[in-house]
Symmetry: C2
Subunit: 118 residues, 2 copies
DNA sequence: TCCATTTCTTACCAGAAAGTCAGTATATGA
DNA sequence: TCATATACTGACTTTCTGGTAAGAAATGGA
């Protein structure tokens, strides 16, 4: 594995490191998709259609290294790999739900996320 | 003001847009620093020493546009500008606290945020 | 006159993050 | 023999983010 870029964040009562761990475009989404149990790589890909394979793998690997995600491979052909949340990943997911709720309540139809503005 | 880059996020039960709004290196930190009332630009700068003026202004402007932050200028010389949270910004801050707690409990001494790894 | 103060703007640049696309391995079934 | 499915890897390119440095405006004070 090659050198992973530091995802550096200013410290701030714990919030900085958190964004270091789930910052970026995909991590939180992936975490969310894993919340109801183990999912195969391919299935995960289908659940998040916009992501590229490369990104999905890259993010999963980083999350695995950070102890959020568990990876289990079955030696079959064609190969099968299941991803699931660790206890830590699950707890992070829990900590994320208020934020998710906030989004649902306050960001419906908000221009951010699908438009450009001046 | 020039075209602001879209901060595009994949939709996911509200979580995508949320990261569109507080994603990036500084927003959450700024939000946090505003939690105990209005702060002058200069004071904010001193509270977050690592941030550059350009970034601070840029992020504040985006947060203002997103309705998270209120900007009040006093016509004095030298100029004085106060920033404070809107109700929306405050509620986002609240939604952020579990995440912050999670970070404090689970990320103490974690390599992310101040190191490089392989 | 010249300097300091404060908030902000602009131009430019480096590096990081994310995207595209082609390729690899292996057993199975047609 | 050949295509298929699956989970990846690597090279390359594009887009985005963040950083530095310089300067503008306006007034009061040395």
């Amino acid at each position: 594995m090659d050198k992973v870029a530091i995802r550096k964040q200013p410290y701030n009562d714990g919030l900085g490191p958190v964004f270091g761990i789930i910052g970026g475009k995909w991590k939180a989404v992936i975490l969310w998709e894993l919340s109801d149990g183990a999912v195969r790589f391919g299935a995960l890909k289908r659940r998040i259609p916009q992501i590229s394979e490369k990104m999905l793998i890259q993010q999963l690997r980083e999350m695995e290294a950070d102890g959020l995600v568990h990876r289990e491979m079955f030696h079959q052909v064609p190969p099968r790999v299941d991803y699931s949340l660790t206890r830590l990943g699950g707890s992070l997911n829990d900590a994320l739900t208020p934020l998710c709720e906030w989004g649902k309540q306050n960001l419906q139809g908000h221009p951010v996320a699908d438009e450009t503005r001046d």
